[in-house]
Symmetry: C2
Subunit: 197 residues, 2 copies
DNA sequence: AAATATAATTAGGCTTACCTAACTATTAAA
DNA sequence: TTTAATAGTTAGGTAAGCCTAATTATATTT
């Protein structure tokens, strides 16, 4: 029985881990992320531990087990497939898709996901540039590096964004920065690390 | 706060009423329909009464108020729009759409419903031939009559089915009876009222 | 190291949505 | 019309998910 909540807790742990094996995901951090209080999280973590979806202790935080990661990646997969579908097929804007996908990802029908994945042409990345895990929970490879690590004169291509808030995405649209756009780092301001692109 | 459950109870009452003003929808009937026990239903009915979505007493059963009916029809609207979308755009079969639509109908995004309603061409009827209520909760007119009321020699067109189970729909497919097909009632067996079409 | 701040945990409470068992009212049958 | 069957209701219980308040651990300052 993977419930809607359980899926969300596992997804939260996955997202907060952020691919860093050593990242400690604390109960408080999860609580802030899901906008609930720490005791609520602790309670749920105990259940997830019992079901062997995670391990948890106060020093190492919460870590996904193999089966837990599988569930989390499946939700991430659904989320990103829906985002892509909404963006490409239903013409939603880059900044609108997240919230709707947040609901659609919990609709339980592999057939439906297969179908829409097919329609969008089985891509490896979603409209934010994030990788779409395959059914087995494997992520496609990519060589994304954060723009903040680039040096002056660097020519690069926008592969994705790591901040998904509407404000930020609208800001990018205003700046006319979109996916797959080419950028040149013209100048880096040493004062606040802002860049001229 | 219309929760997912509340929506389902209101929809159940709507469906069991079946357009018949005098139909008495008892708690037990709702319980069977939703596969829960009568006390569970009673409890919820009390809440729905307090919220003025329904009236209820043991003799008249549950009846939707105007606002209750509005909510119920909105869910029905979503359900039928999704069914049509799944059938026409995603090429699901007539018998598969119901179960998936049952989940999708609770996704809360008017924008999304508007979009897919647009894509399917704003039809008045779903693939089962059932009418799609408009945003204001008005049902489009149609002159459907049950086939069982037809007489010998009657030439008719399949506008819809009143039984939605997969077994029945698959049976129809096997008989090569589909929506908008023309039928002629050739013979009516007086023994069991079965027909040769 | 003591004092303070922050994080983790425990205890106990609330609401929703379900249940069973027991009781009462209504309806149908003998 | 009394009896039996069925429907409606009440009482009381459980589990999930949330909460606040209080307590205990750990970290950070001074």
């Amino acid at each position: 029985m993977k419930t809607y909540r359980e899926e969300n807790y596992l997804k939260a742990i996955y997202q907060l881990t952020n691919d860093d094996k050593n990242k400690i995901v604390s109960a408080t951090e999860i609580a802030n992320w899901l906008e609930v209080k720490p005791p609520t999280v602790l309670e749920k973590l105990a259940i997830l531990v019992k079901k062997e979806y995670i391990t948890y202790n106060k020093f190492d935080g919460a870590k996904l087990s193999l089966s837990g990661k599988e569930i989390a990646l499946n939700i991430v997969r659904r989320h990103r497939i829906w985002e892509t579908y909404l963006y490409k097929e239903l013409k939603f804007s880059w900044s609108e898709v997240h919230e709707i996908a947040e609901q659609l990802e919990h609709v339980n029908s592999d057939q439906l996901i297969d179908k829409i994945y097919d329609v969008i042409g089985k891509p490896d990345f979603d409209p934010h540039g994030d990788p779409i895990p395959n059914k087995q929970g494997k992520l496609p490879k990519s060589d994304r590096r954060p723009l903040s690590k680039s040096i002056k004169g660097c020519r690069c291509v926008v592969l994705g964004v790591s901040e998904h808030s509407e404000v930020f995405l609208n800001y990018l649209t205003e700046l006319k920065i979109g996916l797959n756009d080419k950028l040149i780092v013209e100048q880096i301001n040493t004062y606040d690390d802002s860049m001229k692109l």
